[in-house]
Symmetry: C2
Subunit: 547 residues, 2 copies
């Protein structure tokens, strides 16, 4: 990786002055505040924002010249999957290979670099791009790795390529039958090594479960990647006990740099991890279990999202709820009684309506401020939008999904239902608080394309020109707010994270340009020059303009 190594045990130092910057933050009320110097206390919190004319402390313990560059609050990803990202970074990626020989060389190298991995797992191969004229075979893989299983997903996810050791581990032989909806490629009366569609599961089932050391390694990779992208805090949406233990191990070893706001994967993980109430803030505000993530429906692409009316491209199909009304409410009550926050995954308009119904049913009788979250809130009946605001439900949305999903969403929904699709501005106008995230690793965690999508509703190619349903674009300030102040609010963290006002944790990012002034295309291409968390610089771009 071309990233600067993270300094994981930062040196202890006292007061720090980061001076000569184009400083930007939102204040507690969301108003833009500009400053030229940032004074950080030895506790890692912002002590003072300095204006051009303010007097600087005479001898700070540490002084950093910002050279006029832009400084913004650390970005908060309100919805991601930390370990999912980590594991995706550990996999062998063959998408850049242009021939079988090139792929074989990459596989051999990866296996040599990872001698302790029991299986070599990867993805991205495409025999058409290689000009191979045939599927690759187990023998092609055996030639480079014979000592352990190799299992590689095709670029489209619809086929897998195994070596002989993987087929042996999965007990696949000449008489193995493909399951319905699947196909086993054959050669000379035995499986050739490629498994198509449902047959992929035959080999998948034999894959070893990750060990703790795999989780630890994946976590460090994810953390490094996120920090290099300017993410200083991430809400981990659906933490398992295994994942939580990896976060704690990192914390115990003083290797936890990023801040993780954790939501347990359903009630069992929540209770096993946190017990009968949210955890305290751990490791200097680096880790906390705040609440629980509940899945109410699936996704739009696979038509798992639960819709009020049938899919436009699949008459009769409306998706399905994953929880009955009673199940949903029972889980919500169980979590809420113990003061856990509830975050409900709802993509389809029926799922969103049901989540809102459940919230309405329960809000009256539950004590305290519940700050309900609906995750994705992707396709919402316009008639339901006002209910988010009425019940103060946070809409936790991922702007980058809009350009990624555009053509698929048009096919699934038809023109009539697009009014409530990825409807950030309608939410905002109704008074709904918008928290923004990436859904990493479904999308890249890079928040800058997300901000660009939020303000332009265009994709990386600037398409469609003028933006897709441009009435739903939000301002640069709203986009920044969604990735900072409101993302913190959405996880009960606004007392310490999300802005750079005095008393808040000194989490910030240094950029070459000002995102409140740049074009969407320029924002999309921004990369952090530096990332600071709690007053320590954890990342500095190598050879960057900020050098």
């Amino acid at each position: 990786m071309a990233l600067a190594a993270l300094a994981l045990t930062p040196p202890a130092h006292a007061d720090t002055l980061v001076d000569n910057v184009n400083g930007i933050t939102l204040d507690q009320d969301g108003k833009v505040v500009r400053f030229t110097g940032l004074l950080i206390g030895s506790d890692g919190k912002v002590r003072q924002l300095l204006d051009r004319k303010d007097k600087r402390p005479e001898r700070p313990d540490f002084k950093e010249d910002g050279k006029g560059r832009t400084l913004i609050p650390g970005l908060i990803d309100a919805h991601g999957h930390v370990m999912g990202l980590g594991f995706s970074l550990m996999l062998l990626d063959l998408s850049d290979t242009h021939s079988l020989a090139e792929a074989q060389a990459a596989i051999r190298q990866y296996a040599a670099d990872n001698p302790e991995m029991p299986w070599i797992i990867g993805s991205g191969w495409n025999q058409e791009k290689w000009g191979l004229g045939r599927f690759p075979t187990a023998a092609d893989l055996d030639a480079v790795v014979a000592d352990r299983p190799v299992w590689l997903e095709r670029v489209d996810g619809h086929a897998g390529w195994a070596n002989s050791a993987a087929m042996a581990a999965a007990k696949i032989g000449p008489t193995t039958k493909a399951p319905e909806g699947g196909r086993i490629e054959m050669a000379g009366g035995k499986p050739s090594g490629v498994f198509v569609d449902a047959a992929v599961a035959l080999v998948d089932a034999a894959k070893p479960k990750p060990l703790a050391r795999d989780l630890d390694r994946a976590f460090l990779l994810a953390q490094q990647k996120l920090i290099s992208q300017g993410i200083t805090t991430i809400a981990d949406m659906g933490t398992t006990i295994q994942e939580w233990q990896a976060y704690r191990r990192a914390g115990d070893k003083k290797q936890l740099a990023i801040r993780i706001l954790s939501y347990g994967r359903d009630i069992d993980n929540m209770a096993l991890i946190a017990g009968s109430e949210p955890t305290p803030w751990l490791y200097d505000d680096k880790l906390r279990m705040v609440g629980v993530k509940l899945y109410l429906d699936g996704a739009l692409g696979s038509r798992g999202a639960w819709m009020k009316a049938p899919y436009s491209d699949a008459p009769g199909q409306k998706g399905l709820p994953l929880l009955t009304p009673a199940q949903l409410r029972n889980k919500m009550v169980r979590a809420s009684m113990d003061k856990f926050q509830v975050a409900i995954h709802a993509i389809g308009d029926a799922a969103n309506a049901e989540a809102l119904d459940a919230i309405a049913d329960l809000s009256r009788d539950l004590p305290g401020e519940r700050r309900w979250r609906i995750e994705h809130a992707q396709i919402v009946d316009p008639a339901d939008i006002a209910r988010f605001a009425e019940m103060k439900v946070v809409a936790s949305m991922q702007p980058i999904h809009q350009p990624s999903d555009r053509l698929m969403a048009e096919a699934r929904l038809g023109p009539d239902r697009l009014k409530g699709a990825y409807a950030w501005r309608s939410m905002e106008k109704a008074g709904v608080r918008l928290a923004f995230g990436s859904d990493v690793p479904v999308e890249s965690a890079n928040p800058f394309p997300g901000i660009a999508a939020a303000i332009s509703r265009t994709d990386a190619a600037g398409q469609p020109v003028g933006g897709w349903h441009p009435e739903e674009t939000v301002s640069r300030e709203t986009a920044l707010d969604g990735f900072t102040r409101t993302a913190a609010y959405a996880a009960f963290a606004e007392d310490r994270l999300g802005t750079l006002m005095p008393g808040m944790r000194a989490d910030f990012v240094i950029l070459a340009d000002d995102p409140l002034l740049a074009s969407p295309d320029a924002i999309r291409k921004m990369t952090p020059l530096e990332t600071w968390i709690g007053g320590y610089r954890y990342y500095k771009k190598q050879g960057g303009a900020g050098g």
Copy 2:
């Protein structure tokens, strides 16, 4: 409870002088060191042991007059079950009731005191002691608790008494059949409420699993009990993920007072909790996962201990190993490769021999100092004792088991095999390191009866006079060593715990009398006046002589 409440958030203070004491510790080599003053640094570690003639610091931040009482190192229980103790303390105890009416009053009061408990669980009833002339009934219970299940074990453990709600929860009705070896008491054609022997399981199966808040409460009760008994550190032999999470919650909330040396309950818990190596010392040395606990056989009382020859009172029965040779060795290798310590439960002489065989098989090829432990080492073939010493295997034994088991052990083993039973002195003579514990809650955690048993081999009544196989008694110094210095060594904690030499954690107990001079009977009755951990006083006996 009559105990002083634990001050769970001790005040921060700096240097402390505990002066005018009859101070005793062992040094690193096990030699007795005496002192009259203990100087503790602000880091909670012993700074200096002061002799009568040594100069005292002029103005310590905090000074305590020991009034000539005895100060010994905090006692370390080398083998206990913290949450088992906690849950036993949470149960309703009816063993002191003398009539059904008295029991009913106690049950009503307990239910009122514990409104959140979904089931009322208890034990200790005895209708004969009550002079009832019949078994009690569900109706007797319904009269005092009807709103939730009540389920009470008879004093001998061979029967259970349920109310109607418990029977309903267990789906027990007029047609329910008792399993083989069990009996359901009937009245008027339906179950009366008492279930005998194997039928107990019918109701047991319906008991709810404990919630996190139950674990948290049980932990605090156990901790309070242990500290009041002078235990400052305990090796938790077989920690589950649920239990570990409770310890961490206590640590996170600064409620962890006692030190816990944790051994995961088999490999799965070990790996889920600690990952790929033992955890760091957490919470100022209050918690660490050191290793794994493996069960190789059962217990002597139930003839589950695995013997070389048949039981004397059950010809043909030799008990059974719970692991095959390959399973045992695989688990040992898996743990050891990741530097976890291995503690093997072995009670019978065959189990001890097999554990030693496995250690011999693996020791050659495993790197580092493994410091194997055998837990209980209760019945050992005298021919095998030298092998403990040769391979530096720690014998982790519980002296109190000897008086408790005496008559049963004589019946099970016959006279010939008693030579290697509870054979502390034979172990010591062979050069084996002895770590002592209680096996709480199988026995009381109180270490003083354990010390008394170790030096006298008599029970609470002083029986048998002169001691049972008195050739196996050890010295007072060896008994203290087993509960302090070697108990620390047994868990790789000798660099910080187990003695009061300078640099060690200031964990100590204040007693009215000197256990190196007192009679076994006097030692058996000793109770701590104060217990200090890390330089803080966590317990002070109310109205005690140390007032």
